[in-house]
């Protein structure tokens, strides 16, 4: 009887230690999915109706059949300035590939956004959301952030941070290879 009690106590202690190690491991080393992977990836992209700075309207539903690179930026964001040239180059490289590059200005005022566009000219279309909702619809946590939307309107991927040529090549080719 005494032996059973001793064994039980040892097993319980062992289990407690294993549980503690498991919890600590998960807390320290598991990937925080809320930060790295958007819950929108693989789902239908939230619809939007954006205004260009010369007051034209661009709707996602009008872009069906084309892949979309949706880049969120702000005038005060330094990486946003740095990635403009990479976006311009990608826009030229994938010009004949049915990929539409769209810049979306958020957390900004119009004047600052226009100054940014004049200082860092882009060949692709820049827009803003009059309803100020698109960034929440897309679960934006900071700028720059970029969504890659397939021809059939699904979100293929999200990239948080500054884009460069190789990152854009990688994701744009993924868009082209997506059937």
């Amino acid at each position: 009887m005494q032996n059973i009690k001793t064994n039980l106590s040892a097993i319980l202690t062992f289990l407690a230690i294993i549980l503690f190690i498991l919890v600590m491991y998960l807390a320290l080393f598991s990937k925080n999915t809320s930060i790295n992977i958007s819950p929108l990836v693989g789902k239908t992209a939230p619809s939007f109706s954006l205004n260009t700075f010369d007051n034209k309207t661009i709707k996602l539903q009008n872009l069906v059949g084309k892949s979309v690179v949706l880049n969120f930026w702000s005038s005060w964001c330094i990486p946003c300035k740095d990635e403009t040239s990479a976006l311009n180059r990608a826009n030229i490289r994938f010009k004949d590939s049915d990929i539409v590059f769209l810049g979306v200005n958020i957390w900004d005022d119009r004047e600052n956004a226009l100054t940014f566009i004049n200082s860092y000219p882009s060949d692709y279309i820049n827009t803003h959301d009059p309803l100020n909702e698109i960034h929440v619809n897309y679960g934006i946590q900071g700028v720059p952030e970029t969504f890659f939307i397939t021809k059939d309107g699904n979100i293929l991927n999200r990239f948080q941070g500054e884009l460069n040529d190789s990152i854009l090549n990688y994701y744009c080719n993924q868009l082209l290879n997506n059937k």
Partner: protein
């Protein structure tokens, strides 16, 4: 006091205006209260450990505006929370739902408490047993000493 037709119309208009103001105020208060309640259930994604209600970040302000707009459009609290979950994932909730793996978050403290209680009870029982044994061994020593004394006397 003579109340003519014109006076009655004035009284009616003034009463209507006052009641409308009161109703609108109550409605605004109720909306603000609901905004605050829902904001407390959402974590600000760009702040560390702050709810949307506590945060003054741009994103938290956008959240509050969207909550208000959606309430005014007639959306329910659950619909609004689901809207944010769809965009930011379930981790946007300040209290994660007790489902699947997240159930551990709720059960672990209870399990640890229960395990700790069992260990404490076992420790107290063991301590008591050891004390009893020590007491018994002391009594035995006393008895043995007496036996030794008696034997010495016989010698």
């Amino acid at each position: 006091m003579i109340i003519n037709k014109n006076n009655l119309i004035y009284i009616f208009i003034i009463t209507s205006i006052i009641s409308n103001i009161l109703i609108l105020n109550t409605y605004a208060d109720s909306i603000d209260k609901q905004v605050s309640e829902i904001s407390n259930e959402l974590l600000c994604p760009v702040c560390r450990g702050q709810t949307v209600a506590e945060s003054n970040s741009d994103l938290a302000k956008d959240f509050k505006n969207i909550i208000k707009t959606k309430l005014q459009e007639g959306h329910s609290k659950d619909e609004i929370l689901n809207y944010f979950i769809n965009s930011y994932g379930v981790s946007v909730l300040s209290s994660p739902p007790a489902k699947g793996f997240r159930l551990i978050i709720w059960l672990l403290p209870v399990a640890v408490l229960f395990f700790g209680l069992i260990m404490l009870i076992r420790f107290l029982i063991l301590k008591r047993k050891i004390q009893q044994r020590i007491l018994m061994s002391n009594e035995n020593d006393k008895y043995l000493k007496e036996v030794d004394n008696e034997l010495n006397k016989l010698d």
